[in-house]
């Protein structure tokens, strides 16, 4: 006995068999379709990032690179993780800054660690340079996008190449890559890069930028991003890669200093007029 009154008085399945939804091309086949959803739909891969990291900002100076990433992991608009480190050192010549999906970032971390272990099998000095790491990541990203199953990230690879020269190059989920004296991912590309380019428009300008000025420049970018990018944060890590000393140094847990929100009062034009 079917106790649902909606079904009372209908031809029962055990007497007439199940209803054939194909009759008259009935459109209400969703429940049927869901049952076989695995056959009905093409394989679905990542279509959007989940927990995300915001911009990576990096700039070359006359003796290396400065790079920064904030410590926030957002779940949509929720502050989900508050102590993230999104820059990873790979060997003694490379730092990779990663924005986008955090689980994909952790997967990349694993791949790069395996790469490093393989590089160390011969127990000779490390041969893995920043240019190699970049080309490896480009391959990984491009192959995954070609399988329509992307790793949802944009990376900045910084360090030294095989000739010991300073290296800075971008690569993202599509396998698109480029180098430039000033690089930023995400919102940083809109709000950070113009600030960086005021100082370093080309390689000639790089020779004129001192380390301290580069650090200040990147820190200013992080502050502007905190002002304007809702998914950024005022706590961040900074990395300085120096060619003359061959050193990679991290300054972890920095905060945006000298914030001033006075400008906010003068902003108008987004909605109702202010009093």
């Amino acid at each position: 006995m079917n106790h649902n009154p909606v079904n009372w008085g209908r031809p029962s399945d055990d007497q007439y068999g199940p209803y054939n939804y194909q009759i008259a091309n009935a459109s209400n086949v969703a429940s049927q379709a869901t049952k076989n959803s695995q056959n009905e739909f093409p394989t679905m891969h990542t279509q959007q990032p989940m927990i995300t990291g915001a911009s990576v900002v990096a700039v070359k100076f006359n003796d290396g690179v400065v790079m920064a990433t904030d410590k926030l992991g957002s779940y949509g608009s929720l502050l989900r993780l508050d102590d993230l480190e999104r820059m990873i050192q790979v060997g003694d010549s490379t730092v990779v800054g990663v924005s986008g999906d955090i689980s994909d970032f952790q997967y990349l971390q694993r791949l790069l660690d395996e790469l490093l272990i393989e590089d160390n099998y011969d127990m000779e000095q490390s041969n893995l340079k920043a240019s190699h790491v970049h080309e490896y990541l480009r391959g990984v990203f491009y192959n995954r996008r070609s399988k329509m199953n992307p790793l949802w990230n944009a990376c900045v690879v910084a360090g030294f190449d095989a000739d010991g020269e300073v290296f800075l190059k971008y690569v993202n989920l599509l396998g698109v890559s480029y180098s430039s004296p000033a690089i930023a991912t995400g919102f940083g590309a809109y709000m950070g890069v113009p600030l960086l380019r005021q100082k370093v428009e080309n390689e000639e300008d790089v020779k004129k930028l001192e380390k301290e000025d580069a650090i200040k420049l990147v820190r200013d970018c992080m502050k502007v991003l905190f002002y304007r990018d809702a998914r950024s944060w005022d706590k961040y890590d900074l990395c300085v890669i120096t060619k003359s000393t061959k050193k990679i140094e991290f300054q972890k847990g920095l905060e945006c200093e000298g914030q001033s929100w006075k400008f906010a009062r003068d902003i108008s034009g987004y909605g109702l007029p202010q009093q």
Binding site: R110, D113, E114, I117, N120, Y121, D122, M123
Partner: protein, 261 residues
């Protein structure tokens, strides 16, 4: 030779009536005449060393490395058929990689050797394969401290404070037993390892050899398996040579005493 196996040695997976697997025993023969390899467990690490027999003057010194890494914290040295050893090491690397990918932490030595022992044993069970012609000494550091194991062609493995395999294994083991293992320092272990390899070479004196020493130690290498630095290596060789000379002197004087008597 044919009379020894009497037909029971023609394949793996066949026992002789008295319960022996001849193919496995023959594999051990391949090890017995190879260059000596040793492993020493010290206070906070492991030292591996091998006697590389030089069979051509054209080989570049220092180029043909024999000690290998399985993971950052695990080293291997083996005596026997080198390609078999390479295959064994590759399997170890796969196991270490898969463990790390699943559990994030580096594989433990006991866990690794379990898997490798199982792997080697499998090669004694099937007609299509032959057993590994190596004795592999696997050493490293994990969260429980230093460990040293040796795997035999049968798949048997034991944990050791110190072990040796290859042609000079008897004299090497005798020397290892005299050491205060595992209470010596890593640096001392390196020197002793060099001395023991030089001593074990006496069994193979007509051939040239090259020494190779690696170590993995908490205090000296921060838990990473590496070749020993050049200065320490040279120091160890010097020590080994001096000890050998003094031994020879003693022998000579001993012989002199006998004559006197």
């Amino acid at each position: 030779m044919t009379s020894i196996g009497t037909g029971y040695d023609l394949a793996n997976s066949i026992f002789s009536p008295d319960g022996r697997n001849f193919q496995v025993e023959y594999a051990s023969k391949a090890v017995e005449n190879a260059g000596t390899s040793i492993g020493i467990c010290c206070k906070d690490g492991v030292v591996l060393a091998t006697e590389k027999v030089i069979n051509s003057k054209l080989l570049v010194p220092g180029k043909n490395r024999r000690i290998q890494s399985i993971d950052r914290h695990v080293g291997v040295v083996y005596s026997g058929l080198i390609p078999d050893g390479r295959h064994f090491v590759n399997r170890g690397r796969d196991e270490a990689r898969s463990f790390k990918s699943i559990y994030k932490e580096p594989i433990g030595l006991q866990g690794l050797i379990d898997r490798l022992g199982y792997f080697v044993q499998a090669y004694t069970c099937y007609n299509s394969v032959r057993p590994f012609g190596i004795n592999a000494i696997v050493g490293g550091i994990d969260s429980k401290g230093p460990h040293l194991f040796m795997v035999e062609p049968s798949g048997t493995y034991w944990g050791y404070y110190g072990t040796a395999t290859g042609k000079g294994r008897q004299s090497a083991r005798a020397e290892l037993e005299k050491l205060d293992l595992p209470n010596i320092s890593a640096k001392d272990a390196v020197k002793e390892a060099a001395r023991i390899i030089y001593l074990a070479h006496e069994d193979n004196k007509d051939k040239d050899f090259e020494l190779e020493v690696s170590w993995v130690s908490k205090s000296e290498t921060n838990g990473v398996h590496q070749f020993v630095p050049k200065e320490l290596f040279d120091e160890a060789v010097k020590y080994a040579e001096e000890e050998q000379e003094s031994d020879e002197d003693e022998d000579e004087s001993d012989e002199g005493d006998e004559e006197m008597a």
